[in-house]
């Protein structure tokens, strides 16, 4: 079923091919060629591309829930940040006694706060497997509880969007507090190793990019499969006509719930891949602004296509890197302009544009 869905989806094939090339070529060139060679990609480029790929995965997760399920989540960044924190906690525990205070168990900020022992929720994070489980479980659980309550009470539309925004804002305020035990304002940083390998080394950075790319490709295929199943059609139907689907005998709230949970888990994975590549996670990742920017990525790329979200995320972030470097003060204006232009002239985003062109060529 996935195969036949792929065959019809030309733009998706193209994006998959591009992603595969990027995922393989950049790390290999970085490791094989010497600096100065024309084919060499610097360590900076490698982490930058790796970061873009995690953003693309985040955008993909939003497109699944917004583009197909019709739930405009304005707090998707919360799940991303939670996944990031879970990874950050593992990386903190990996530091061991190499911290500034040299405590073998407690991370530096806890020693600084005069804490004597590790809070219960930090236990287990020294195991990589456990931490990876939490990367998916914690965002998934939060989405489950939140979605269960919201969808059962039939909260929809703009009200739901605002509540999700409030959720991420509340989490941001909570994580800012030192008593929470997540490093407060400064967050978690100063990471050294990941499963015993030095995070600063070229090989590890190349591997992180590779894993980000693989995670993105796998998730893209999984999401494409999901929307081509009958469940995908039910979800599309309820996006357009929720009560009608209910009268057909489907428990609409459960369908929405599972898609929402899946999307939160994908966002969590994206966050976990993001943190080791940028080297820090702090509460500002929960900021509602990040979640809103994410909506712009998906809108620019085109929602409801999956690959559109990926194009949008990479393109907007590339512009961001370029503009914040050259003319930092105009970045926010251009982001706003981009959003307005796309909404007015390209309601289907860039994906809509490319799709129309492909169709024109065929006919």
């Amino acid at each position: 079923m996935l195969f036949s869905a792929l065959q019809q989806d030309r733009p998706l094939q193209l994006i998959l091919l591009l992603l595969a090339v990027v995922t393989i070529v950049i790390p290999v060139c970085n490791l094989v060629f010497a600096p100065g060679s024309a084919l060499y990609f610097s360590a900076y480029t490698v982490s930058l591309i790796g970061k873009y790929l995690t953003f693309a995965l985040l955008a993909l997760s939003l497109d699944l829930v917004w583009g197909y399920c019709g739930i405009l989540v304005l707090g998707q960044g919360a799940f991303f940040a939670l996944g990031g924190y879970a990874m950050g906690m593992y990386l903190m525990r990996q530091i061991g006694s190499r911290g500034v205070y040299g405590d073998p168990v407690l991370p530096d900020f806890m020693v600084f706060l005069n804490w004597k022992e590790l809070p219960w929720y930090w236990h287990g994070f020294d195991h990589f497997g456990f931490a990876m489980l939490m990367v998916m479980l914690v965002p998934g659980l939060l989405a489950f509880v939140f979605g269960w309550l919201a969808f059962r009470s039939r909260v929809t539309g703009v009200y739901l969007s605002i509540i999700t925004q409030a959720l991420t804002y509340a989490l941001m305020l909570a994580f800012f507090r030192n008593e929470m035990g997540f490093g407060g304002n400064n967050g978690l940083t100063d990471f050294k190793d990941i499963i015993g390998f030095n995070l600063q080394s070229d090989a590890v950075r190349a591997c992180l990019l590779l894993f980000s790319g693989l995670a993105l490709i796998t998730s893209l295929l999984a999401c494409r499969w999901l929307v081509s199943t009958k469940l995908g059609r039910v979800v599309t139907a309820l996006r357009d006509h929720e009560s009608r689907v209910r009268f057909l005998g489907y428990r609409v709230e459960l369908f929405k719930l599972w898609v929402f949970v899946l999307s939160a888990m994908l966002a969590g994975i994206a966050g976990a891949l993001y943190v080791p590549q940028v080297g820090i996670i702090n509460p500002s990742e929960f900021s509602p602004l990040h979640s809103l920017e994410l909506v712009v990525w998906v809108a620019v790329g085109g929602r409801g296509t999956l690959y559109g979200a990926i194009i949008g995320a990479i393109l907007v972030n590339f512009c961001k890197t370029l503009l914040t470097g050259l003319l930092p003060e105009i970045w926010l204006f251009s982001l706003g302009a981009m959003f307005i232009l796309v909404t007015v002239f390209l309601p289907d985003g860039l994906a809509g544009l490319s799709f129309n062109k492909l169709r024109l060529k065929q006919s």
Binding site: T229, V234, A237, V245, F247, R251
Partner: protein, 275 residues
Amino acid sequence: MSETLIDRYHTFDFVKRPVLAGELDISHRTILYMEDVSVSFDGFKALNNLSLYIDSGELRCLIGPNGAGKTTLMDVITGKTRPDSGLVYFGQTMNCLAMDEPSIAQAGICRKFQKPSVFEQLNVSENLELAMHVDKRVWTTLLASLNAAQQERIDEVMETIGLQDMRHQQAGVLSHGQKQWLEIGMLLMQEPKLMLVDEPVAGMTHQEVDRTAELLLSLRGKHSIIVVEHDMEFVRSIANQVTVLHEGAVLTEGSMDEVQNDPRVIQVYLGDATC
């Protein structure tokens, strides 16, 4: 003990036929009971102590002027609106007021809406597939694929509603009449025991109206059907039993001729048309 022996309304347990949960019991021929149902919206009584009984296999037409409570009545049966008081039973055993919309739909009460509400982004065949009477839980839906019998059923229904050549058309591009037909097709796919059909011929051409009447007549006996319609000619062509609603209550019941000659009906409803 003696009290229960004297009590003429007491039924002893050994007389009662056990009915499995979720099973429709129509041993008394009546498929739908509505008793003393009242619904009010901000003081306006949309339904006022309405009582209505539908026999199994019957095709019943509901008529009445605008605001008589026809759509509210359908909302109550399908669980969309909760009445302030009254009883609604599906068969002998199923209490509709204790069930939510999906369970009522799964129990076999299916509804066609006044405004055609097909899924415009999906094609004709997919619309029918979603309506199909199968296990509709999340995981089974995720892994569901059409078997030969199901595919055949979809083809059959597509033929019945005359859309067999448009199976891959998006429902959004269908004409109004075709959307109405697709809705009826979706209703058929659900294998309903009781069909609620709200204004099936609104906006249809003459030929389409005739075909709809034919279709509904062919379903009589196999399904119990309640049709709400304004088109009197259409109602006359299909109904043997007509119920007239007025101000949220049943005004009268009977054959089309009886009803049309009832002075009260003429006064509240047909009166306007004749003078």
